[in-house]
Structures are given as structure tokens and as C-alpha cells.
Amino acid sequence: MERRALFGGKVLPYSLLLPQFAIVVVFFYVPAVQAVWQSMLMQDAFGISTEFVWFENYTILAANPEYYRTMGTTAVFSVLVAFLSLSSGLLLAVMADKQIKGATIYKTMLIWPYAVAPAVAGVLWLFMFQPSLGMLAKALRSWGIDWNPLLNGNHAMILVVLAATWKQISYNFLFFLAGLAAIPKSVIEAAAIDGARPMRRFWTIVFPLLSPTAFFLLTVNIVYVFFDTFGIIDSVTSGGPAGNTTTMVYKVYADGKLGSDLGGSAAQSVVLMAIVIALTAVQFKFVERRVQY
């Protein structure tokens, strides 16, 4: 991995890093440190009265059964969304990479929904499945399915998983497509001459070569399911029913809403950050070592 031919010097690399660092420090690290500080305070909404409580917010959190439930929900939600959006993105990319008629049109048709804003995506899904005005909700019910995400926790979960997956398919498709295009066709053809079946060929030759892409996408998707799905959950289910679709990031938002429990909410974001950083570090250590560049 290490490059041999590198430039030396100290001033130039540091000054190249400076703009990025200035922004990162001012707008990422300072706020992050403030979040840690906030997690040790109990404060009213307007910040008029403040009490330093050390780790009390964390102990309250640790004693809260709802929080563990939220962790479970997040795990289910993340695994489902990451798996579904990565596998369907990969499937579509593999199909679109074949030499078939109309491949370009398919590609365009699959790529452009990437441009839909998450805030709008949530609204679109709500619009389809809302029990009273949703077209698909009506269709489901006319087929005898008692579709009721307002009360049925499984229905609500299915709904947010589908919406979150939908939003991410185009992105994953794109990157897999690029990854596939970068694999020299000669490698695959050589394998085909050796008589390897298409499925076997895919898993033994193509997939390993895709692993850098898969690694990048796994990281991006984990961040996506942990954080960016907030807007979708907020507009589709608001974490309901009975907390069945409340993920950790949604709870951070819900508890901090209107400044009601800023300390508790900050403690949760610290926990959340720690989890995601740990997850990514693990990936980086173990996955990147095994992926082939």
C-alpha cells in the first residue's frame, strides 16, 4: 500500500491541508467538543440555567429500557437497508453491465432518481402509502391486506426500510456500475475460456475485484442508514407506532426537540458517534486489509 515515490517537505503538505483543516476544525471539531460538553450538562431550553452533572445523562440513558429498544430497532433497520440497497444496487449494476440492447437507457433511468432530495423522498413515500390518501395503500387494502402502518409496527418498519432503501439504490448502482466498468473484460473472458460458469465467475473473479467499491459503499451506507435516514423517518412515521421505528438518530432529534433535553440528547449523539467511528474503524482495519486494490 505504501508508496515509494513521494515528495518530501513539510510546509507545502501542511499548507495544502490548511483550508480543509480550518473548516473541519471550526465546523466539525468545535461543535463536536461542544456536544460532548453539552452531554455533561442539564440545561433548560434557552440555556438560562445550567447545571454540570458529570455523567448523569449517561447513567440515565443506560438505565432507560427504551434506549436499548432503540438500539435493537436501529440494528434491524440498518442491516435491512444496507443489505437491500447494496444487493439490489449490485444486481442492477451487474445486469446493466451486460452487453444488452438499451443498456444506456436503463442506466440513465436508474441513475436519475439519485437527484431526489431526501426531504422530498420521504414525502413521496408518505404520499404513496399514507392510509388515507396513498394510492398504494388503497391498492394493498383492496387486495385484502390490512395495511395500517399507523398501528402495525411491522408495516411501519417495512415502509421506512423501503423508502430508505429506495433513496440509496441509485447511488449504490452508480458506484457498482463504475466498479464493474473498471474491471478489464479480458480477465472475465479468460475465466470464461477456463470454463467457469457465470455465477461462479462472478463470485470468484468479479466480486473480489469489486471489493474496494463495496468497501467504500459499505462505509457510506452505514453513515447513510445511521444519519441521513432521519428525514425519511421523520416524514414517514415520526418514529411510531409505539416507538417501533425510532432509530438512535431519530431519538437524538426527538429528545432534543425544542431544547427539552439537550443534555440527554447530546449524550446520545456522543454514544452514536462512538458507535459509528468504532464500526468504521473495524471496517477499515479488517476489510481494507482484505480488499484488493
Binding site: 442539564m42 433548560d44 431550553a45 434557552f46 438560562i48 411510531g240 426537540k257 427539552s260
Partner: protein
Amino acid sequence: MILRRNLLGATAAAALIASAAPAFAQVEIQWWHAMTGANNDVVNRLADEFNASQRDYKVVASYKGSYPDTMNAGIAAFRAGNAPHIMQVFEVGTATMMAARGAIKPVADLMKEAGERFDPASYLPAVAGYYSTARGEMLSFPFNSSSTVMWYNKDAFKAAGLNPDAPPKTWPEVFEAAKKLKATATPNCGFSTAWVTWVNIEQFSVWHNIPIGTKSNGIDGFDTEFRINSPTHVRHFANLAELAKDKTYVYGGRTNTGEGTFTSGECPIMITSSGFYGNVKANAKFDWANAQMPYYPDVAGAPQNSTLGGASLWVMGGKNANEYKGVAKFFAFLSDTDRQARLHTESGYLPITTAAYEKVKASGFYNTNPYLETPLKSLTNKPPTENSKGLRFGNLVQIRDIWSEEIEAALQGTKTPQQAMDAAVSRGNASLRQFERTVTR
């Protein structure tokens, strides 16, 4: 590179424009609000009219998202030292605002200091009570108010053999009518409610003159505790859970998104805000009407009076005297009876002063628009008691979510109504204690 430079130029120019002060010394008053649709027009027109009426002050109205978004933005802005002068806060945020003594300027003080006429007694008692301290000091300026009513589909009533001009008055009558409607006219739904906690806990308790919490529903102090696991409450949710099994009762969700089932004709009875009026009028393709909320006839004193939904205008602290003078002038401008009367008839929100109500009544407006008077009749049904003056619970936004979760658990059948309401009380109390701890230090 050229592109980059131009961009920087554009940025700099934009920054300049944003910071450039007008040539004459006009004091700008920031007004953050959450009004959309036709009500957004109303807000903008009010600002424009006020700005045209004088030259010293300029009210700038900005939409800041939904009610919670607006309040969030205001809180963040205050903490960053950049609060607007006027912020529209929904009724559930009242306790949070009131507790923040240093962050807000009580309207009563503001008007007195600026020498503007202001008489809390001119407001409808249910309105003034909601936004005043226990000592009767009015803290915020009532703006848009609504209350709960029962909307029903007259065509469906006829089809089910019910008298469309005699809607059910009590809950047992509603249940009977709903069963009949579901059996004959509307197979998917008997009745539904929107804003589940507002209708089934808050308004329900007030209308039955039973406490939501101790200390006059929190008005007399932060050390209040919930009482919503009373036999009357539990009985109501047991009824709803029972009726939900065969869709006689259809759960309409935590907000107003379920209201569409009424206008589409799917649900023949919808208990929700009087603010639903404009939507019904525009979209319901059938004969409809509204009536007062139902009650349980065996509860002593029911029906009492209903309470408010909607929002009021809060004046934020830390501004200079001249700015406050402008805010006071603007409020005086808003209080004008003709303007209040017009606001009511144009927006569908309730009139908030007695004079405006009387004036609209005298004009014969309610003869042609009887549905706008129903919520007013509920609101003024009886003089408010300590259980029906209003409610003031800290963290009510979160607590409503907790309550909704527990109600949903009861309706799903994962908890009994008693277990759900007990949990609603204990989890709600925990949140109240947390609020009490942060504000009373």
C-alpha cells in the same frame, strides 16, 4: 479560475446586500412564524398593512417551518444571541416559553412600558386563561386559535338511516352511530380522530372537567403530576381499543394526516380541529356538518368547556426599548376589533376577543357559516374551572409523543388500556420532573 473569481464576487455582493442598512433609520422587527397556505397570506398581509400604516417600523415576516421547526429555530437563535423579536409558538410550547423568564418579555409588561392600550379582559376567558400566569398576567399575545369539533358526513348518515340533523351528542351515541354507519354506508370505518392526544386526552379531560394533571393542569406550579389514568380515561381508551378491532374506530395518527379519510368519504365521522374547515369545504364532495365534541353523560359536569389549539406570539427578551415600542405598536394594530373580525372570517381561526366575536355575530355571518361558530360555542360553554382553564406542562411536545406511543400500544393490543395509561403517567411524570429540575434552579 475566472468562474471561481466571479463566484466569489457574487458571494461578496450577496453578503453586502444582506447587510446593507436602509437609507433611513427604519427599525426592523423580525417575526418568525409557522403559517402556510392561506394563513401565510394572512400573515404577510398583516405585515404589509402595518408597514404601510406608518414609517418608523418595518415588520419582516419569515416562515421558519412547522410549529416545532419554528420554535427550534427560535431557541437556537436565542442561544446564539440572534433571536427574532416576535416568535409564533404553538400551544404545547407555552410552558417552555413561560418558564424561560429571562428569554421572553411578557406582553403585559411590553404594552405597559410602551404606553399602548392593552386589556386582558377583552379576550375570551378561555383564550386569556391559556396564555396567562396563575396571577392573571398575560405573557404572550394570542394569535391563531382553534378548538376540537366533530365533523360528520350527512350523506352517509342518510344512507345509514340516521338523522343527519341530529348528530350523536355522547360517546355511546357516537359508538352506536359508527357501528350502524360501518354496517351499512361506510364498510371501512365508523369514526376516526386526528391529533390523537389533543382530542382524546387533553380536550377529553377538559370537556369532562377532570384533571389532566395536578396543580390546575400545571398552571399553579411545575411540581405537577399527571392524572390521565383515571377510570374515565381508561374506560375511553378501552372503548376505542375494543372498537378498533373491527375498524368501527380507525386510528388517525398523531397529527392531522388522517383527516383525508373524512374528505374522501371513507370515514363518516372525524373528530379533529375546527381548523379542518377550509379543507372540508374545498375537498368534501358530499353534504357535511360539524357538531360539538361528544361526552360521557354519566360524568358529572360534562360537557364543561373546550380548550384551545393554535398558537400565540411571544416577544423575545434582550431587545432595545425602541424595538419593543415597535412590537407594542404592531400588537396594538393587531388588536383592532375590525381587524380581528376580518382575520376570523378570512382564516377560519377563532376570534380571540369578545368584541370581535360579538361583532361577527351581529353581522349575521354565522347564519351563513354556522360551522365556524361550533368551536366557539364549545369554548364558551361554561365558565372555565381549574380543570378547564388550560394546561401548562413542560416538555409537552415529548410527552405527547410518549402518550401517543402508549395509546398506540393499547390500540395494537400489546398493552391493556390500564397498563398503557399507567405507563403514560409514569413516563410523562419522569419528563415533567426533568423539566422541573432544569427550570427551577
